[in-house]
């Protein structure tokens, strides 16, 4: 897999995550984490449960890494991942009990210092008391496509998803 691909998946601040609700796509910007085994971890909180609820009804999802803002990548490309997701019914209120969730939280804190600091401040906790109660979504990639230059009018190149394993 070209190093550009790994860099995009690792360094883009957000991707557009799509789940299905009654057969219609619902898309959110999220900040995912690529895990050692090649899956992606996405966390939401029980105040925004729709992504997880959708996944429990229909596991088909996609992730589009297409916004280079803040990544520092000078010649940005884009990656589309299609995959199957799982969302356990379990809630996680102690981030220290889930090493992958802790790693994702560190990633979000680094990427979004002002926003994430607010959410765990006294005022943030009062306004958003459910922010710290997490639902975990794991995405297993089935297909991946790469645009080297973000020219979406060009045909993408299909890439081998096995190459996502062991790159972090």
């Amino acid at each position: 897999m070209p190093s550009d691909v790994v860099q995009i998946v690792r360094d883009y601040r957000t991707c557009e995550f799509t789940t299905l609700s009654n057969g219609s796509p619902q898309t959110w910007p999220v900040s995912p984490l690529l895990l050692e085994d090649g899956r992606f971890l996405i966390a939401t909180n029980i105040g925004l449960p729709q992504k997880a609820l959708n996944v429990r009804r229909n596991p088909k999802v996609s992730l589009l890494f297409s916004d280079p803002t803040g990544s520092g990548i000078t010649v940005p490309g884009a990656i589309l991942i299609q995959g199957d997701a799982t969302a356990e019914d379990r809630i996680v209120a102690d981030v220290s009990s889930e090493p992958d969730l802790a790693a994702l939280a560190e990633t979000v804190f680094a990427r979004q210092p002002a926003g994430s600091s607010f959410m765990i401040s006294q005022l943030g906790r009062r306004l958003f008391p459910y922010y710290g109660i997490r639902l975990l979504i794991h995405v297993t990639a089935r297909r991946a496509y790469w645009w080297p230059t973000r020219d979406f009018t060009r045909p993408p190149r299909q890439i081998d998803i096995k190459e996502l394993q062991g790159v972090v």
Partner: protein
């Protein structure tokens, strides 16, 4: 009818269009400055060859943020992707006006999240768990940022 959607869409340089492929998986591409018609709620989609897509439900998402994932702006139009005369056309079916201010966004989000969070616990017969805020704060303190 779609003039408000057109106004909001014009605030963004790019839009993410998502539809479904023939196997039922979502598939997304970016559209650069889509030419959205405020009278019909439609625009012609530049869909790349080599990426399968099917007619059916679709959505357009625009979002932006600064380098530190703050000053977030977002809007969405629901619709359908249709094939007409060898072209792909996005046609709108629903648009919800986003709040006019960042404070409005925050207020609506706080209200909606409190209601949804309470409902999530109630429907499962769960008590409000004790959140380990100290662990989150410790992670925040130990995480290096661009500004230290």
């Amino acid at each position: 009818m779609w003039s408000e959607a057109a106004k909001e869409l014009a605030k963004f340089r790019e839009a993410v269009l998502t539809a479904l492929d023939p196997a039922g998986y979502p598939v997304s591409v970016r559209q650069m400055a889509p030419r959205y018609d405020p009278a019909t709620g439609e625009f012609t989609v530049a869909w790349p060859s080599g990426l399968s897509v099917a007619e059916g439900p679709a959505t357009v998402l625009c979002h932006s943020h600064d380098e530190e994932l703050w000053n977030i702006k977002q809007m969405q139009i629901k619709g359908r992707l249709e094939r007409r005369a060898d072209q792909w056309i996005f046609t709108s079916t629903d648009f919800r006006q986003p709040p006019g201010s960042q404070l409005g966004v925050l207020w609506r989000l706080a209200h909606d999240m409190r209601r949804a969070g309470r409902r999530y616990l109630d429907r499962r017969g769960l008590e409000m768990p004790t959140v380990n805020w100290k662990a989150l704060q410790a992670l925040r303190r130990s995480t290096p940022t661009k500004n230290g």
